[in-house]
Assembly symmetry: C2
Homo-oligomer: 324 residues x 2
């Protein structure tokens, strides 16, 4: 087994060496730029890891892994336009630097490039791999759409929220693992179990992110605590709180949501207090545990040597820090 | 041989019956909308025609033909955002009706859907067809980028212009014909000749469009005569005129280009007069004939019954009305 860090390094190297067309440079320069901003290369590394777990040749999975990274960065390029984000990984976003049109069109080219890369599998796997990739790509678009819809909606249910985060963040993890497993020689049944493992783990990880935004240690979390509260982001915590709050609590919560001018610390403290009184943290941790358990159950059912399963368990434990 | 009009009708029918996912409707409603705006369905009909010419089953080419139409409409959806166009085929554009973000994301979903449809070919053709489709799709992105670049550039050469229109409009025609021919059972050599036929014909058609904008009969042309002149669009005519004009003519042309406030009729008349004095129409018609000749030469080399070649000649003659 290769170490995940080694796989991440190999992906970074392959991304750096990616042979993009040279002309028109106005089309391909933003592509090189966003890919050069780095990131953990987690999704493609997971694809390689899945291939490796089933005894496959990691090199044979390198182009599809890079495809996943190019696809992921295509979604970031377009999402940044939609979210009007000025920065990505501390650097100017593509649309801020080159304009909206460049962001749209270079993103489109990246989606095509990701198919070109994903096709670099043996003939016997081509249709299967592309079917998974299509489904994954469409799921990611659907998730982003739901996320935007929810910003406009007053009332979002917990199940809708979970489906949104599944589509927006988890299907790509699951898809990457499934494709990697198949390239590595896995049976479809095992590839699907690994897919479930990835999807459930992704949902658990996103729920953890929601929790840490409010209850995380700012030094470890690396983000401003309460950022989601300040922006009224419809996280698991807020949705659950709106569901559970009774008359006066609900009024107070809705007051803070509607309030345009407020002291940041005051708003974070007040909303956190409502969360505390409703036991929202426990609800969210319970949900996170439920999905983590589902992920581990999928893993248990996998036809893999115990040592390899342990590797995946360690990986999952590393992602989900269950005590803060 | 099926008539082209019949093939267009069958495509329209297949597009109408396209089974889109239902949810989220905010993602797929703009997709249904733009596909319902109609259009001549020329590109997918050409794919079916190419299949038919080589004795293939048109039904077997239906999904890839619809893929071409979905792809084409994806480019329209994104181009309309980039061009800030309020109308498409007389109806409100997607981004005007649902917002920019919907236009971006529904367009992305359409590109994925076009791959899903394009994959509906037999296994033996899958990789070949998708390789052509990737190359075509990337070419269209490159053409759109060059078109946007040229708007900002003072100096564009005739060769650059011809390459831009080849990429922006012709490669999709050529790609559609090539894919259709292969599905119909053509040898690669013949599929490539048909591809060349489509690309050259597309360039000739675009040059004709440039000419008709200035010299066309407004009743037949269906657009405002001189629209390109009023918007300073860098067409073959303007680029050639800037290349050929001597001192005082060049000054006058640049004066009209720089002029912000002008009487429309006066500007069109003045620029047309410069074109006339430089023989620009003849230059443009000569270029158009050159590409039409290349298209017919590709056709002559095709391994097809004379009757089928005549069908393609008639089709080309119908597109290129050589006297106005």
């Amino acid at each position: 087994m290769n170490k995940l860090q080694d796989l991440q390094l190999r992906i970074s190297d392959a991304v750096d060496k990616l042979n993009l067309p040279e002309s028109p440079d106005t089309l391909y320069e933003p592509v090189s730029y966003i890919l050069s901003l780095g990131g953990k290369r987690m999704r493609p590394a997971l694809l390689l890891m899945a291939c490796d777990l089933f005894g496959g040749d990691v090199e044979a999975a390198m182009a599809p892994a890079v495809a996943i990274e190019v696809f992921h960065n295509f979604t970031l390029m377009h999402d940044d336009i939609m979210d009007k984000a000025p920065l990505r990984r501390g650097k100017t976003t593509v649309h801020e630097r080159w304009g909206h049109n460049a962001g749209i069109l270079s993103g489109d080219a990246m989606l095509v490039l990701s198919y070109e890369l994903m096709m670099q599998v043996e003939d016997g796997l081509l249709r299967t791999v592309l079917d998974i990739f299509n489904k994954t790509a469409l799921g990611v678009c659907e998730g982003q759409q739901l996320d935007m819809d929810f910003e406009q909606l007053g009332d979002v249910g917990i199940d809708e929220y979970l489906e949104m985060i599944r589509l927006k963040t988890s299907v790509l993890l699951g898809g990457a693992l499934k494709i990697g497993a198949l390239i590595g020689g896995a049976e479809m049944k095992d590839a699907e179990l690994l897919n479930h493992f990835g999807e459930y783990l992704g949902i658990a990880f996103q729920l953890q992110d929601d929790i840490l935004d409010v209850y995380g240690d700012p030094d470890k979390f690396g983000k401003q605590v309460g950022g989601d509260i300040l922006s009224n982001k419809k996280t698991y915590l807020l949705i659950k709180a709106l569901e559970l709050a009774d008359g006066s609590q609900k009024d107070e919560l809705e007051h803070w949501i509607a309030f345009k001018e407020f002291d940041n610390n005051q708003k974070v403290a007040a909303v956190t207090q409502i969360y505390d009184s409703l036991g929202i943290r426990q609800h969210a941790e319970q949900a996170m545990e439920t999905y983590a358990d589902k992920a581990f159950a999928a893993l248990d059912a996998l036809n893999l040597p115990e040592e390899h399963k342990q590797y995946l368990r360690n990986f999952a434990d590393g992602l989900l820090v269950r005590e803060n």
